[in-house]
């Protein structure tokens, strides 16, 4: 194994990091194209789920594996149609393979064909679909949570669900949806700084939108719906090729964003129970680690002309009797199938299949995560042809050979698996009474974390390794809801463009929570929604998905973007 350092001339670094990230019309078009592809695929998968589970149009329901594969195929197909001229765009691809997380699972569940389980959904399941596309490194990421309802009833000659989803699952969905809207509106205020003065709740600030404002709003919404913001949630700046896809593998310089993790839950609880002279952890990294701009802090100002990804995951905790910590456990089942190339490592591989695979990945996937099925020759699937079972069998056959190559890649750390994680609730009383002789020095090397976030509970001195040993005392959360939306803040046209998400594509499912927003943020939220809905100058537009005609794109809708 050999670690390589990439030497980039300062002038080139300026071009790559600054110039290529200014939002000129060409760049915005690329972002929009990536957004359109992501939106279309998201809509396509929602439609597939609706058809097979709610409207019973298929003989048997699609499994998670099939949905992932069909979604990836759709992404690949749409990507192949856009920006076909090589001189304009050298790289384009899937920035996040379609992953479908059911209930307590939080990320990266995207089973391959070789896994035997044929997982389907049950009524009452909360299903999160995550995916992404990139064109020339300009990335759009999308996540949306939908509800699987029991068989519907006929109303006005149309099948409709009988009632909304209730309980803590619904709490999470409602809170997540409201928080995402609020954060997007707050980000939008960076384009219109003069409007900040209109909102009395924000007036004490000096007409800027900061990370801590975003955090406080999201936390307050979570609190009023008896929810917890799941660790790993982020509101972060997206730059060309830097969309958080290699988090924990490569540290990103000049990271800008709000990140939620376990330490925030600890801090909240400490604030609740304080009243002593206790020094509460201030969220800033220790002075020893403060040297790097890769450590996320809330001390940043949202600026117009930037792109942000709002990726929030909420978990309802009203069903847990005891106050507990919501944390992420590495799941044993299903195994990780999404991999990311660690470009810092080179190694002379022994197996031919491994060499073929690394060549393919370096050529086609660049710095974005990939699945083994993407590398097969029978990929993407062509559902419009009648021989779909044969196509799937061909991929399956090819996968078996490529699995061996992948094994060598992961053994040599040339590719790192993206962890499949599930949300878990550990009672705080268990954590407090557990002995912790190693203190904060036990580091979990296998856990991919952002720099500066290695210690989950800094005040208690509980390390990730210790927390891992406490998982057996915890219970899996009922469900998590995740909404991810990439937002472009255009400083020239003063427009806010939602590349992904929005009501047209990711309409919230019918849910009812018994809670409502607390008085602390109700005023702010009303003011923000008024701004979005009624103020003409505050322009928010959504990238619309292409017209899906029975899984096919009609010819006039074919992308004419380049």
């Amino acid at each position: 194994m050999q670690l390589s350092k990439l030497a980039v001339h300062p002038d080139d670094a300026d071009i790559l990091l600054k110039e290529r990230n200014t939002l000129d019309p060409v760049v915005i078009d690329k972002y929009r194209a990536a957004g359109k592809i992501a939106q279309t695929t998201l809509k396509y998968i929602i439609q597939l789920i609706n058809d097979s589970y709610h409207l019973q149009k298929t003989e048997q329901p699609y499994t998670v594996t099939e949905l992932c594969l069909l979604g990836d195929s759709m992404l690949a197909k749409l990507l192949a149609q856009s920006y076909t001229k090589k001189d304009k765009v050298r790289e384009k691809g899937i920035s996040h393979p379609v992953s479908i997380d059911v209930n307590e699972y939080v990320n990266n569940v995207s089973p391959e064909l070789y896994s035997d389980d044929v997982k389907t959904f049950a009524a009452g399941d909360v299903v999160t679909i995550s995916l992404g596309a990139q064109i020339d490194g300009y990335t759009a990421l999308a996540s949306h949570t939908i509800v699987i309802y029991p068989p519907g009833v006929l109303i006005d000659n149309e099948l409709k669900p009988e009632g909304p989803l209730l309980g803590s699952k619904a709490d999470a969905i409602v809170a997540c949806s409201i928080a995402t809207r609020a954060v997007i509106a707050l980000l939008g205020l960076a384009v219109h700084p003069e409007m900040i003065a209109w909102i009395p709740e924000l007036q004490n600030q000096s007409n800027i939108i900061t990370g801590s404002m975003i955090r406080s709003v999201v936390d307050e919404i979570a609190r009023s719906f008896q929810c917890v913001v799941v660790p790993g949630s982020k509101v972060r700046r997206v730059r060309r090729f830097l969309a958080g896809q290699a988090e924990g593998v490569v540290a990103e310089r000049e990271f800008k964003g709000v990140v939620w993790d376990e330490s925030n839950q600890e801090e909240d609880l400490l604030k609740k129970g304080s009243g002593s002279d206790l020094i509460v952890h201030d969220g800033r990294p220790a002075s020893s680690t403060d040297v790097s701009s890769a450590v996320p802090t809330d001390d940043f100002v949202v600026e117009a002309g930037e792109v942000y990804n709002v990726d929030l995951t909420f978990c309802g905790v009203s069903e847990f009797e005891e106050q507990g910590l919501i944390t992420l456990e590495l799941a044993d089942e299903p195994v990780s199938t999404v991999f990311i190339r660690d470009i810092a490592i080179t190694h002379a591989l022994r197996l031919n299949s491994a060499r073929d695979l690394i060549n393919y990945v370096d050529r086609n996937c660049s710095v974005y995560p990939f699945k083994l099925s993407h590398t097969c020759e029978a990929f993407p699937l062509k559902p419009e042809q009648d021989n779909l079972p044969e196509q799937i069998a061909a991929i399956k056959k090819e996968l078996n050979a490529r699995k061996i190559g992948l094994h060598e890649l992961t053994n040599r750390y040339l590719a790192r698996p993206k962890p499949v994680q599930l949300a878990k609730h550990i009672p705080f009383s268990t954590i407090l009474s557990a002995s912790n002789p190693t203190g904060k020095h036990g580091v979990d090397a296998s856990k991919l974390t952002l720099p500066g976030k290695e210690l989950p509970l800094p005040a208690l001195g509980v390390s990730a390794l210790k927390l891992k040993s406490l998982f057996k005392f915890g219970a899996a959360a009922t469900a998590t809801a995740r909404e991810s939306s990439t937002v472009l803040l255009n400083s020239v046209t003063k427009e806010i463009i939602k590349l992904t998400g929005g009501d047209a594509t990711a309409r919230p499912s019918w849910v009812h929570s018994k809670y409502q927003v607390s008085d602390q943020v109700a005023g702010l939220l009303t003011a923000l929604s008024k701004l979005v809905d009624e103020t003409a100058e505050f322009k928010v537009s959504e990238v619309q998905p292409m017209n899906l005609d029975a899984g096919q794109i009609s010819s006039e809708e074919k992308m004419q973007l380049d």
Binding site: P164, G273, L432, Y515, V517
Partner: protein, 164 residues
């Protein structure tokens, strides 16, 4: 048996016998002269030689010299080590006496000296920051549990429409 003049008389044997006989005689004579030991004459016989464990000190401290004898000059020498030991013992005795008195007072229901109680209490370690954090967190958990038991007010929130 071979005669005294025999060529192969057992010279060594004879010599050894004569030697041991002479030693026995000497021992017997010495035993007659010496005082009996305590172990051979019973423990209450005080007319015996000193036991090896008996104190060989030149003088034993028996408390402060009395007033009239304070002026007398003594020739007995006290080793430094022994003086220390004597002092220590005296301190222990005083302590034990005070304790006995305190317990006797407690039994009879009389009030005790506050100072003695404070002295007897175990020393408490100073509270660390971790202890403080844990205390605050425990309090917060209790408060959160109380908050949870309160009911919810209002109509709640509905999202979405009645459609798949």
């Amino acid at each position: 048996m071979a005669s005294k003049n025999s060529i192969n008389k057992p010279k060594g044997k004879i010599h050894a016998a004569a030697h041991s006989k002479r030693l026995n005689q000497k021992r017997a004579a010495r035993a007659k002269l010496a005082a009996p030991t305590r172990s051979s004459h019973g423990r209450y016989n005080l007319q015996t030689v000193a036991r090896p464990t008996d104190s060989k000190a030149m003088a034993l401290y028996t408390g402060a010299p009395r007033e009239q004898s304070g002026t007398t000059v003594t020739t007995s020498i006290l080793s430094k080590k022994r003086a220390k030991k004597i002092e220590r013992n005296a301190r222990y005795i005083a302590q034990r006496k005070a304790q006995l008195e305190a317990s006797r007072a407690a039994e009879s229901g009389m009030e005790m000296d506050v100072q003695t109680i404070a002295k007897r209490e175990k020393e408490v370690k100073p509270e660390t920051n971790l202890d403080k954090v844990k205390k605050v967190l425990y309090r917060a958990i209790e408060e959160a549990a109380k908050e949870k038991s309160l009911g919810v007010a209002g109509e709640g929130t509905t999202l979405g429409v009645q459609a798949f």
